[in-house]
Symmetry: D2
Subunit: 441 residues, 4 copies
Amino acid sequence: MSFSGLDSALTGPLFATSAMAEIFSDRSRIAAMLRMEAALARAQGLTGLAAAVDAIPAEALDLDAIGRETALAGVPVIPFVKAVQALLPPDLERVFHRGATTQDVLDTALVLQIQQAFALVRADLIAILDGLAGLAEAHARTPCVGRTYGQHAAPVTFGYKAAVWLSGLADAARALPSLRKRLLVASLGGPVGTLAGFGQQGPEILDAFADALGLGSPPIAWHTNRTRMVEAGAWLATLIGALAKMGADVAHLASTEVGEVAEPHMPGRGGSSAMPHKRNPVSSTIILAAHAAASGPLTSLVNAMAAAHERPVGLWHGEWNALPQLFGFASGALREARALAGGLEIDAARMRANLDATHGLLFADAAAAALARTHGREAAHGLVEAAAGEVRRTGEPLIEVLRRQSDEPLEAAFDLQPSVDAAALWTERAIADARAVRERL
Amino acid sequence: MSFSGLDSALTGPLFATSAMAEIFSDRSRIAAMLRMEAALARAQGLTGLAAAVDAIPAEALDLDAIGRETALAGVPVIPFVKAVQALLPPDLERVFHRGATTQDVLDTALVLQIQQAFALVRADLIAILDGLAGLAEAHARTPCVGRTYGQHAAPVTFGYKAAVWLSGLADAARALPSLRKRLLVASLGGPVGTLAGFGQQGPEILDAFADALGLGSPPIAWHTNRTRMVEAGAWLATLIGALAKMGADVAHLASTEVGEVAEPHMPGRGGSSAMPHKRNPVSSTIILAAHAAASGPLTSLVNAMAAAHERPVGLWHGEWNALPQLFGFASGALREARALAGGLEIDAARMRANLDATHGLLFADAAAAALARTHGREAAHGLVEAAAGEVRRTGEPLIEVLRRQSDEPLEAAFDLQPSVDAAALWTERAIADARAVRERL
Amino acid sequence: MSFSGLDSALTGPLFATSAMAEIFSDRSRIAAMLRMEAALARAQGLTGLAAAVDAIPAEALDLDAIGRETALAGVPVIPFVKAVQALLPPDLERVFHRGATTQDVLDTALVLQIQQAFALVRADLIAILDGLAGLAEAHARTPCVGRTYGQHAAPVTFGYKAAVWLSGLADAARALPSLRKRLLVASLGGPVGTLAGFGQQGPEILDAFADALGLGSPPIAWHTNRTRMVEAGAWLATLIGALAKMGADVAHLASTEVGEVAEPHMPGRGGSSAMPHKRNPVSSTIILAAHAAASGPLTSLVNAMAAAHERPVGLWHGEWNALPQLFGFASGALREARALAGGLEIDAARMRANLDATHGLLFADAAAAALARTHGREAAHGLVEAAAGEVRRTGEPLIEVLRRQSDEPLEAAFDLQPSVDAAALWTERAIADARAVRERL
Amino acid sequence: MSFSGLDSALTGPLFATSAMAEIFSDRSRIAAMLRMEAALARAQGLTGLAAAVDAIPAEALDLDAIGRETALAGVPVIPFVKAVQALLPPDLERVFHRGATTQDVLDTALVLQIQQAFALVRADLIAILDGLAGLAEAHARTPCVGRTYGQHAAPVTFGYKAAVWLSGLADAARALPSLRKRLLVASLGGPVGTLAGFGQQGPEILDAFADALGLGSPPIAWHTNRTRMVEAGAWLATLIGALAKMGADVAHLASTEVGEVAEPHMPGRGGSSAMPHKRNPVSSTIILAAHAAASGPLTSLVNAMAAAHERPVGLWHGEWNALPQLFGFASGALREARALAGGLEIDAARMRANLDATHGLLFADAAAAALARTHGREAAHGLVEAAAGEVRRTGEPLIEVLRRQSDEPLEAAFDLQPSVDAAALWTERAIADARAVRERL
């Protein structure tokens, strides 16, 4: 089956890594459900049961049969429990799953999957932070056009641009450690969240259960308090968004007319079924596709927060589709961003040529500042605005046009160096901040 | 792989029908891509190639291998074309896929899948319209509480409520025939949409191509005009929304305190892994889960409309995840709505008891209207408001309380019959309208 | 107050037209509510009341006072009714608003506002369709680069590009007439939708009411059947999306390196507070901002469909924020698109220069097709791919590189004319289709 | 103007507090923009200019005139700068706004507004945390039905339910302190973010500027790194979602058939324009309306992250509509939640009656556990499932039906006390956790 492009054999490998797909595979989910049940047994001191459950390989369960019964039962845990019981000796069968409810199993299993997924994300993040810091450092003084609203604005450096990407990623990364702590929390509440079947021992059993899984223990059941899920989804959307900023820039810088960067060359990548000369920016495409898809699942997670009473009708089920997709899209976007951060090809000569393409208009801001000293700011702005029109019409350098209007010395205003120097300062500052974030990740 | 709950072996069968899953399976997609290529050959008069392509079973292609190469190439059509060429004799291999671009293949294949999917949706819609019309008719005079803001408001009939559901579905169905016409349109434009490789014959080849597939022919390439996709997605979201209205009502009517309906009994359905007495409304759950998930993919489709030039970076790829998921969720929601429309259990006695539960407050509106005749509308409203407070405190019937305040004869105001009669009129009208829609579907 | 940029005195005029703002102003809403109440009186034969209500100017009501009471009452209709009653003689006061409920007033008033708003949208659409058809015709044979994934792909014409924009708008326009019919429908159902207060006369009163307002009459109350609202919202989002396709293209074509078009010159537009030389594409900015905002309100409308029973808790209130915002954003985007369609500046020489910028790579597809005649398709593709690499490295024209590899005559493949001819055919076809749509609008 | 229900004189006061509306009013925005410019002057040592700007009241600027020019200019800062300059002496006029760009002004002003808005949110949060902790404590041992999927499931206490609400709010609150730190950061980068006009002094001027405003100083310009905006929006959506959980529960508990709580009585609130007896849950309505609207603006913010280069076309403008609306909706939802937390009326007798309504089925889980001791778990589950059916048919108490099937002593299973005791434990634990969060808020 493949309703999602992420799950398609044809397009899935494009959008998500196989490592992430493995974590969210049905087989891994079943394995996580078994781990949850084993920990539940362990927390109750049922070490025999725990060992027996641990010994069941995920492969021993017939996924398709469980799926068929789920369509009837409404939740996968009922057929799952029956299927596991069939593999246990009668005395253990009786106490299997004791005290837990469906949501305990599914939510805890999901948290275990998230825990593994975060490890993948963290490794990619570190590599990207390192790659971008390297890129920013290497090109800290490589002059490059700064563009606003698609128009040449003023000079920056390519390292500065990479440092802005780096800073976006660092901001996303900065929130991860505390998010991980808030999120990686076990779910065990029984039918209505109170673990009433365990009497006064509920809290200590929950704590032992969480401990057995290496997870935190929540103050109270979170069956219908879905803040964690939205926090996770929002963080992933933000991360994908930070990557999309880089993807949007790279796609434009790699466009034919601009040509300042090229995505890392990979034989066979970026061709066209029709056009033999094409070299499409596939990494940017994957990143921007992930971004276009990211707000959707987040919407579902926000919707699902109005979860009535101890279990809602539909909203929790609606969640099942959301968070794993965000991890899927994030994995592909991270993989591609890592490739870009590590191997983006920079054409410094082309950057230099583009800086000159507008005959000095890039320095209009600096020229106006210089002229303002004698002419006043408003008048200087007007002078330069008019001169810019002439430059556009005639192609004559701006400095020449302005020299006809004013005796103010203007050479310094047309000097690239101050822009490069300023950009380099910020680049360094952003790298230092990102390094500090990386250390705490 | 399973990032989407729709694609999971465990939960997929709960959310989507196997018929819909089959249509959107990778195997079916490959089959549709082959149909597209055969039609392209046929439109060029390459009947030998067309026959050869027709003879290739989807199973002959290695999906996983194509997927692996897609991750490199960026689109699945490049490895697909190579894989098909490997199965063709050299003379046919040369002309295979001639004139087309990746997007022609994927968009046309998607339209072919949508065509089949619409047929499933239409059949379910007809069954639901029939079922709800039957339910509305059968209970046209079964009195039932009308509720606003969760509060008892005034009497209606259960048939009237079913007629409102029916009317929502009829509204969605009403738009389908023209949507189908606008949407089921072939895509063939070549690299940049102009089919320049075919010279002046482009339009007639496109027409022949569309004709060979039983699809409409667009005036111009729609590679980057995505109105069709958004229209389709919005319609599916609206359909799911119309089902959600019914699902929300059923879930509440089936709740323990209300108890006016029960979902059709299916052995094994609606149980709890923890609570042996539970009978959960699984159909409503699935419908409302579909609704919670529906706006997400629609958002991606709207985002994707800003498609630059002749092919955008990322936005089109982002679409791939969206429309099939909406069909998936629609299929499960329709299946469950069909079950509800055909087998909802109505407890007319409980409806009657609930009507009496507020000691006549349901007739407050009618009583106020009666009192307004002598007391004026404002004063009557105030009188009844105060009396309502006393009824709530004491449980005394409203009519008795009011009789102490006014000599106005009030029996008629507390008569259920006018409400039933009024409700029945609308029910009939809605059924007639829905029948007309159904005939044109 | 200004939580929305649309309502801000500072930024509202940028995002929405004053004509649309006028339609959705509080004053106009009150006027529409009064029109609704007058029609309700008229439908009951209360012509004196109708005349009295008609005579009340919207200005006679204290909006702020109504607003303050709304915050208490929960809906604006309760204080509105009281405020109007205070202006009526006692005998009319008693029968004012008789039979109706809050939602009848607000929904019918909204439909009346939508009716006016659609007239504005239609006028803009006609102007844009005309403008784009003119642009497409004028430049039907103006050669221009076709771009995919940001890369030069193959030649098209600028008229062809305009025709694709036209076709997207025509697709949106095509759906408007039937949408208007389905949507411009009165709401009158009373407390629970059955108009029970009118006994058997409910349907004829509704029909008369709708007729008095020039609206359609629904088969049954649509208080909790919100398909109409979602249809309207989805249509507006699609319209904005179709404009965004044009906006995205214009912004890129107007970018410094591409420079093929400029937004129409308006003195004072597009400057920068810092940079005197800037000419920012303000029209595209407004259109793309509208697009970025469009999916949000649509999500709220989809969410609101699960409206329980005869009036939901919150979902209907949540709607109030959504549809008017979509009309607001549409109005600004349409205004700017109209300006673009009517006055976009085309630089045909720059288009021509850009076509030559890649030394013939744009003809690679045609060259490969020519070579395929003797070399076979796969080999030809490979030959051209390799040659393209050389062109990129050396800047030597592709035709020269290929001539060293093959004796196949290649001049015809490097001829722009066939691309121009092909593009012109589609342009004509799209214009004819759009004209037909325009006639029925 | 009123495209948003938040900005309407009629409905705005319902959805947002006047304090929050004041913060996001155009007047306050202008005031914040002036504060920003004064700080910029101060950071450059231009104390005369700073004092002069400080002395300009927001009222001195003509908002409508600025708005009209904004529609032309594309951004409000250009006319704003001109309008302020007109109020300054020529020598100060020349250096006003020096070094800054439009986005510096608007983003920093927005951050200053957010700073004030967070203070309001924090105060409401504290009151709600206190109110809910009080509610949870007061009813820690008030038995109440636990409900899953709308069905009676097992006993809890009302205090436990309040503690779950509390826990959701505490989770949202937990993230606020670090969010505030990451978010309340100044923006000052000049045209392309590098503050090149200030040469090597850029970083120290930014630090001084931020310091003058009591804001943090970012490592590098965040003009096109929008993580902060999405983090803020996601947090507000999560907060509203946590409130929606409470709103959904309250609306249902207040519904006629359940009747376990009533919203705090306010004279004039919750009436109906048609039905004098109605008492609608207005607070829940406002909270749930906010929730239905919340995901929309968040989507816009996520979309806006793909911000190209140093300033994007449209995406940043699209943001302007989003974050203030989320603050607006949050303010109304918080106000109502505060009213609920402080004054919700609890009907413990009705809770008790509802517990008995299903003749002991609520204890089915406990009964099955008891029977499992002798019968085994599967058989016990089956026994109770069958008995539940009989109870539903006949109304006979479950304990009686089961006694006919088994000799196992069952009294303990039907004892409410263990459920109450278990619930109380968690309630206490959640209160302790929330108190710790509150201390750090």
